[in-house]
Amino acid sequence: MSLNLKRILIAKPGLDGHDVGAKVIAMALRDAGAEVIYTGLRKAPEAIARIAVEEDVDAVGLSILSGNHKELAIDTIRCLVELGADDMAVFVGGTIPAQDLFDLKQAGVRDVFTAAMTIDDVVAAIDQAIGAPESGQ
C-alpha cells in the first residue's frame, strides 16, 4: 500500500522508560514504508518539537505510559506552535483512560491509541489522518 505519511517522529517525552509501544509502532510504520525517526528515551517537549521541525516530519507520535499524557502532550503542542509548526499532526499512544480523550483532542491531539488496538489499525489511522486534507492521491 502507498502511504500518505512520508516522515514521522516517534518520541518518548518525560521520564517514562517503557519504550516497547514506541518501538513496535516505529517498526510497523517503517515496514509500511514510512521514514521513521525515533528519539529514544527521556526527551523534553521542547527538544521533541525542535527535532520535529528540523527533520520536517509530517507527524509526531508521542508514547506515554506514565499517566502524564495530558501535561506532556499539551506542552509538546505548545512548543510546536511556538516554532511555527501549528499544523503538525500530533498523535498520542499509551495507557490513556477514556475520560481523558476529550481533553487531549481539545488540546489539539489528532488521535489517541491504546494497546487494545491492532498495529494495522494504528498505522491505518495515522495514515488516514495525514491524508485527510488532500485525499484522493
Binding site: 521520564l15 513496535v24 517503517r30 523534553a44 487494545a116 498495529i119
Partner: protein, 544 residues
Amino acid sequence: MTDAAATTKPRETASDCERVSTATPSGIEVPEVVTAGMAGGADLEGPGQYPFTRGIFANGYRGRLWTFRQYSGFGSAEETNERYRFLLERGQTGLSVALDLPTQCGYDPDDPMARAEVGKVGVSLSNLAEMEVLFDGIDLGEISTSFTINGTAAIIYAMYLATADKQGVARDKLTGTIQNDILKEYVARGTWIFPVRPSMRLIADSVLYSNDETPRFNPISIAGAHVRDAGVTAAAEIAYTLANGLAYVDELLRRGGDINRFARRLSFFFYVHMDFFEEVCKFRAARRIWAKLLKERYGVTDEKALMFRFGVVCGGSSLTAAQPYNNIVRVGIENMAAVLGGAQSIFTCAYDEAFQIPTEASAEIALRTQQIIAHESGIARTVDPLGGSYYVEWLTDSMEDEIMRIIGEIEDMGGAVRAIEEGRIQQMTAEAACRRKQAQDRGETVVVGVNAFHNPGEDQDFGEVFRLDPALSRTVLEKLEAVKEQRDGKAVAKGLDRLEKAAAKEDENLLPYFVECCHAYATVGEMVATLKGRWGEFEEPIRL
C-alpha cells in the same frame, strides 16, 4: 514427540478460539501426551539438594511461607507511610517501595526534567528527610523492605542505612532488597543514568559494601520481569536474566569479591504470566541452571551460594484494561504457578493495575488472593507437588535446553555487557514485542476480553479511579526548599566534594560517601549531578 504433535488436530467444529495451541509461548512444541520414557527427572534429586530443581529448601513452605509483598508508593512520603501502615495492619509481611520517576532517574523535584512527574508513579524521595517520614513509626529492624530502584539504587540504599542509623537500628538487623539491576534498565525499563561501565561499578560497590555492613540484606535483585513484560518469552526472560547475573558475577570477581560469599546474596525477580506449566517449569529450570553454572564454571562450593532465590510479580502485561475483573482470575492462576514454582516472595497485582494506581479495595483483593492460596488451597502443604509429573519434568528439561541456547547466543555476542552497549538485546526485545503483539492482533494468542469474547463498549470501563492530590507536587517542592534552607550547606558541599574525589579512584567503594552525603541531607539530584560530571550519561544506541 513429533508423531504425537502431528496427530493433534482441531476438532472439526472448533472455531479459532476453541482450538488449543500445541506450542508453549516460548515455542516449545508439546506432545499430546507425555509418557514415562519421554520425561527426564527419573533420578531427580530431593528438594534442598543440588541443583535444586525441586526447590532450595528441604521442607518447602512448611518452615516458612513466602513473603507477601505488595508494591505500593505514590505521592508524598506522608501518604505512602499511611498506606504502609494500612497494609501492615492487614497482614502484609514485607514492604515494597515504588519510587517516582524523578527519584529513579536522579532528578530532584525542582529540576525542569521532573516537571509533572513528581509523585506520579511512586513516592518522591529526594533526600533523607523524606525517607524519615516514609518510615515514621515503622521499625526498620522488624520489617523487610524492597525498593524498586536501579539507576540511583546505591544512593537510595545509602539513604536507607542513614534512616536506620537515625532510628537507632543496627545495620546487621536490616532485611530487604534493592533491585539494583542496571543491565536490564538499558534493555527494558529505561531508568539508566550513567554509561554501562561506571554503572557496573556502582552495583559492585553496593553489593560488596552490603556483604559487610548489612549481611541479611539483598543488595541486588536481578530482574527478568521487565524484559518479559516488554515482550520476550519466558525462556528468554530467564536467559537474559541469568546472562546479566553472570556479568555481575564477573564484575564482582574483578573487584576482588569472594564468590562463595557474595553469591549468597544475589537474588532474582521475574514475572509470572498466564501459561501455567511453562511458568512453573521455567522456575524449576532456572534453579537448576544457575546452580550448575556457578558450580561448574566458577567452582562455587558454598551450598547456599548455589541457591537460586527469587521473587515474582503476578500480573503485569498479562493483565488487560478490557474487562478488568477478569484480572482477578488471572492473578489467582499466576499466584498458584509462583507457589508451585517455589518463589520466595510474591507480589500480586491489583486487577486495575493495567491502567491506574490501585485503589485500597483492589489492593486488598490482591493481598487476599495470596492469603486464600496460602491458607485455603492446600497447595503449599508438601514440597514441589508437581515434581515427578511426566509433563512437568519433560517441560522443565525442554525449558532448560531453550534457556541455555539463548544464553549461548548472548555469549556469542561477547556477553551481556557488550550486547547491551551495542543495543543488540534491546533490538531482540523490540522484535519479540512486535511478534507478541502481531500474534495477539491476528488472534493466534487468545486474550479473553481483548481479541476474543469481547463485549464492545466495555474496554474503557475502569470503575473506581484513584486520583492523586494535584497540590502534591507543590507540597513536595516546598518541603525540599525547607530542607535546603535548614541543612548545613558546608557539610553538603564537603560531602559532595569527597564523593567526587572518591569517584575519581577506580577501586574506591562509593557507599560510605553516599551515606555521608545522605546524613548531610544532600539530595539525590545533587549526588547524581556530581557523578555525571565525571562519568557522563549513557547514550542510547537506537537500533530498530
